[in-house]
Symmetry: C2
Subunit: 410 residues, 2 copies
């Protein structure tokens, strides 16, 4: 564990982010504008944020000593992932460290069963669910009864640690569900089960909340999932009624208030075929569904997260355009021979308006290695903007244009 | 001279910028999005860019060995100021380093006499000027004759090294002009003299040019100068005819082409009371008159500078709004008691839409320590947007609201 010197000299605060991934990398960009340098606790010097910040502490988020070293002298500690053991955060809080969001709120982002239970208690719409922790035989009976009730259209989830489709098993039959259960139960993974929702699409209601209690909501977006992870975000969600958008924002703001969240928060929602909104997941940090704000909103989620963590007044969340589309650049099944540098060259030649954000990560299948934002021109349709964003992201992933364009042709 | 390790791992190129000031700091923000980390040659670890980049070489831009160390392994070397000795750049070029802009172009940004002579030879409109270098007695005679011709409305300039009003003396009489000459001549400062232009206002035509020869121009802006340095930028220049704007852009693009400029370039212009455009200064780098592009244009000058230096295709230079205003935050005569952190807090409370960029510099009178961009809403007048931008910048400088607002009042 090593620490680079703290080079600030102008009396501006230092914020520490636990985790050196792309969220920390992009938060650092916003920290620079605010006169700061983000301090990052990173697992390795090659982590996306460690590559670019002057203030890196190398160490593990599981190691309380590393957390203490990273927190030393900074005004607040925040996160680019949900993986820090709650007991460590409670220890830091007991030592006077400002942990934001605080452990009492983060608990609900780390533990899906606690989250579901809390949301249900607050009267927020959630899918039916049941606890599969504890005694294996008893839990198997709970699952069987739950499955029968829901025609075996159920989702088994790891209570902790799942993300981007990991730790989530969608099942369609008694056999499938019990097979998943039997494979997982009794091990380290604590399980729960949920009703599969007949959804029309997925939405995300992103907000931020400051310790002072100020809340601010961005426009509600539609998230398009592929292989269990976010692939495309349409901002704002096409065709969503003002009433539904407002309900989603209110739910997200209210929940953040109830839980005492500090920072950015994404509330992922299902819109059912009947137009109902049901809460799916929570993330108490900048989130993939907010990447569009970097180029498409007056205040980006990364700046807003810092403002919230620092208890600054929050920024204007207005969109800069009627349509903004974000598409993730994912590692291809086979990494293209053409270098990322050359791919970027060709992309810029075709789309001078594309805003590209690369994370400095090596390419692995389905790994999020960057994203592209396209901010629509006045009058452009969401279909047109989306087509360009997806074409750009696909090119950056695979070095193939979906429309057959040959960069070396005529 | 020390160097931090090169932590990139994804095969993206490294660009080196000579100079660790705010221009390098903001270029680093753009480098991050492009999957890179800007390497900076900085005089000290407290320099604005050295505070935030993971790749810092400490050393002087006057030291060829430091320049070599900073260039090592990077694909191109570029600049955040014009102060690097030309002979050093020529030495680097002879060793195969890609110096961008190349020394043959940068020469004209470093030497105002060479620039004036070249521009006149290219038929571009420049003020009348004369060479005051060489023999002091002969130069004094040249100045006397030049002064008589122009009714002693003349500007004496240092041929090299002046910026932000330094090295520029505006004089109104024979006595004043000769006093400046006598005080400066015969020392290290090489002088020239120019006709004072009866100007209505100052403009800036910013462009970028790639080695491939692609050029791209941002909207022409009006720059408001105070105490010899840029204070406010209005984008686009209010009331400038399309014809005049196009002429300015064409002049800037043409000149960049003639000189072989690579990167961003600002051509500062006088608009005379007769509506003529006359070239004043050149800067071959990101420039204060382009800071509005960070929030107000599809492609910022910092991203564009990197794209040009890397020979990537250039980005879309369209404005995001009909009116964008930038106001510099300057150190006050007496630094306010209220900390910068607290000032920022109050600013955000009053203006959630203000985009603030702080440079991590200590406060000294008239020193540029940050800037504020306000992107106008549809239908907003330039006066309204400017008033907010100037009010915000003034507050950040002095901790006083120009409109008398009391943040602790009712």
């Amino acid at each position: 564990m090593t620490s680079s010197p703290d080079r600030r000299s102008t009396g501006m605060p230092t914020v520490t982010m636990i985790g050196g991934g792309q969220l920390a990398r992009m938060t650092h960009q916003s920290a620079i504008a605010l006169g700061q340098c983000l301090r990052v606790l990173a697992g390795g010097a090659d982590d996306p944020a460690a590559q670019v910040s002057a203030n890196v502490v190398l160490g593990s988020h599981d190691d309380l000593e590393a957390l203490r070293a990273a927190a030393e002298g900074s005004v607040a500690v925040t996160f680019d992932h949900e993986g820090v053991p709650l007991a460590h955060l409670q220890a830091l809080e007991a030592e006077g460290v400002q942990v934001r969001p605080p452990s009492k709120a983060l608990h609900f982002a780390q533990d899906k069963l606690a989250m579901r239970t809390k949301l249900a208690a607050l009267g927020l719409p959630v899918p039916d669910f049941a606890d599969l922790s504890g005694n294996v035989a008893a839990a198997r009976e709970v699952l069987t009864a739950f499955g029968e009730t829901h025609d075996w259209q159920v989702v088994i989830k790891a209570v902790r640690g799942g993300y981007d489709g990991r730790g989530v098993w969608l099942t369609d039959s008694r056999e499938e569900a019990l097979a998943v259960f039997d494979a997982q139960a009794g091990g380290d993974t604590v399980l729960m089960v949920e009703q599969k929702v007949a959804m029309a699409r997925e939405l995300s209601a992103m907000i931020a909340r400051s310790p002072y209690g100020q809340g601010a909501a961005w426009p509600v977006v539609e998230t398009v999932q592929r292989h269990g992870q976010c692939a495309v975000v349409l901002a704002p969600a096409p065709g969503l009624s003002d009433d539904a958008a407002q309900r989603a924002q209110q739910m997200s703001l209210k929940l953040a208030d109830e839980l005492g969240v500090v920072g950015a928060m994404a509330m992922e929602l299902f819109e059912t075929v009947d137009g109902e909104l049901i809460v799916n997941e929570l993330a108490m940090r900048p989130h993939n569904s907010g990447h569009w704000t970097m180029d498409g909103a007056v205040t980006s989620q990364f700046e807003q997260h810092l403002r919230a963590v620092l208890d600054y007044p929050l920024g204007d969340t207005s969109a800069r355009s009627d349509v903004v589309v974000m598409a993730n650049i994912l590692g291809a099944d086979t990494a293209p021979e053409m270098s990322m540098d050359e791919r970027l060259h060709h992309l810029f030649a075709r789309m001078p308006e594309a805003k590209v954000h690369l994370y400095g990560k090596s390419e692995r299948p389905e790994r999020k290695i960057g994203h592209v934002n396209i901010v629509g021109q006045p009058g452009e349709s969401v279909e047109d903007v989306r087509e360009r964003a997806e074409r750009a992201a696909q090119w950056m992933s695979t070095a193939r244009w979906t429309d057959g364009w040959d960069p070396h042709g005529e």
